[in-house]
Amino acid sequence: MSKKLLSGPYLIWMVGFTVIPLILIVYYGLTDKNGVFTLANIISIASAEHSKALWLSLGLSFVSTLVCLLLAYPLAMILRKRNIGKGSFVVFIFILPMWMNFLLRTLAWQTLLERNGVINGLLSALHLPSQSLINTPGAIVLGMVYNFLPFMVLPIYNVLCKIDDNTINAAKDLGANFWQTLFLIWLPLSVPGIISGITMVFVPALTTFVISNLLGGSKILLIGNVIEQEFTKGSNWHLGSGLSLVLMVFILASMALIAKYDKNGEGTAF
């Protein structure tokens, strides 16, 4: 009995700072300034300005997730083939950037891409015309891919490491070529890792406001920026909460996706 009392502080903490805050978001999202029930905050996602931001966020995070997947899968395959083991230095190198403060990583790209930044400096040294690289959707995608690539590599790498070499060799012995092995063996067996990686990239990319703020300038608004501004600059918390509820639908959907495809937790980053 006394053991159960140990969970007391935690339960009080979690109710106070996790459950009640979430209930507050739902409350704010479903009421107006006078505390009257309304769906207006949620429906406002359909307004021209907000739906544009949502579609842009969905589009950019979709593209970033795809690029991450295409870059990460071959990388994970090569790392596995080298069979360098979990504690190896090479794997360490590829996940180290994950530990860098992500503001600094984004700051680094800002330095490279700016109008008078490093890349344009190099171009002008070569007498090439300078490019407007920053404040474009492309810059945002680049920032997302750079920030979230390790989150895609790690779960895929871990799932690939669990595939038995004999399975691959058997496929080869039976005459399968590279592409057949890839599509019939590698990919189906690594689905849990792929799904896990996709959600780990897609959710933070969809909800970001920092990357779009630093690399996209003030003209490109993602849904994260809209919500952030409602809470910090504007003061319509009801609208901001309503839009957050819409975002949570996408977060819940990706959690459901994981639950469906990765029942045994194979795609975990461990």
Binding site: F92, N101, V118, S196, L206, T207, F209, G224, M248, G265
Partner: protein
């Protein structure tokens, strides 16, 4: 026997590894080089200087932010470790149903997007009448740190043998003594890695701090954000370089020191891993 085709394949693979490595490290390397350049231009090397490092150490705002960051990281990790370890012990002895419910709640801060966690906490602090400042950042950090501690301690608890604890009590040890002499040494690695993980998560956080901090207080992350939006100063490059080198050294120690039995790479994996099966 290696055929030419194999050799070619290996070259292509190495080329790919190097390419990704350049993509990952070139931006960071650029920051580091610029932090030593005696010129405000980003494209011209103005000679080697430590001027920006001096400026950084003399800046009272940067030093205050550094102090806040370290105090919050240490305090939040410590408190989260105590609350989380106690909770893990209790949860471990629970029946399946309450266990599932509590673990479900534990998952929320890890699964949720940071922006939602941040604004929900901000709304709660204002509803509770707590004014935003140092305390609110600390509470927010403890909140998102506790699940990581529980996650690190639970697997170790499951490995412990209940009979040993009971044997200690049969031999006359009071429950508290039996726990600290028998169970605690077994789960200590989990507790320590939970603490380290919580510490790093707290150091690294920006989004939740951004929403729960009041005016006039900054951590390093929020300071960098506000400075960068006003235009980057070279002292920010110096700061970045120092942070990167510190993180690098810490990680090399935890991952490669032979006597240090902490699951370093596992920690790396756990970080930002939003979903974990641990029931």
């Amino acid at each position: 026997m290696k055929t030419t085709k194999d050799r070619l394949k290996r070259i292509v693979e190495n080329f790919y590894l190097v390419l990704i490595m350049i993509f990952l490290y070139a931006p960071i390397a650029t920051l580091m080089v610029l932090s030593f350049s005696n010129s405000k231009s980003r494209t011209q090397w103005g000679g080697f200087t430590l001027r920006w490092y001096g400026e950084m150490f003399e800046s009272s705002t940067i030093m205050a932010a550094l102090q806040n960051t370290l105090i919050i990281a240490f305090a939040s990790a410590l408190i989260a470790t105590v609350i989380g370890t106690a909770a893990a012990i209790a949860i471990n002895s629970m029946k399946p149903l309450p266990k599932t419910v509590i673990m479900g709640i534990t998952n929320i801060p890890m699964l949720n997007a940071d922006i939602v966690t941040g604004i929900s906490l901000m709304l709660a602090f204002i509803a509770f009448g707590i004014s935003l400042g140092f305390e609110t950042i600390l509470i927010a950090h403890i909140t998102f740190n506790i699940p990581y501690v529980i996650l690190s301690v639970m697997p170790k608890l499951k490995q412990t043998n209940k009979s040993v604890y009971e044997a200690a009590m049969d031999l006359g040890a009071p429950p508290v003594q039996a726990f600290f002499k028998v169970v605690f040494p077994d789960i200590l690695p989990g507790v320590l890695s939970g603490f380290l993980l919580a510490f790093t998560m707290s150091l690294d956080d920006f989004i939740i701090t951004h929403f729960t901090k009041g005016a006039g207080i900054n951590t390093l992350s929020t300071l960098i954000y506000s400075e960068v939006r006003r235009g980057i100063k070279p002292s920010m490059y110096a700061l970045s370089t120092i942070i990167f080198v510190t993180v690098l050294i810490l990680l090399i120690i935890t991952n490669f020191a032979p006597h240090w039995k902490l699951p370093g790479i596992c920690l790396t994996g756990l970080k930002n891993h939003r979903r974990q099966e641990y029931l």
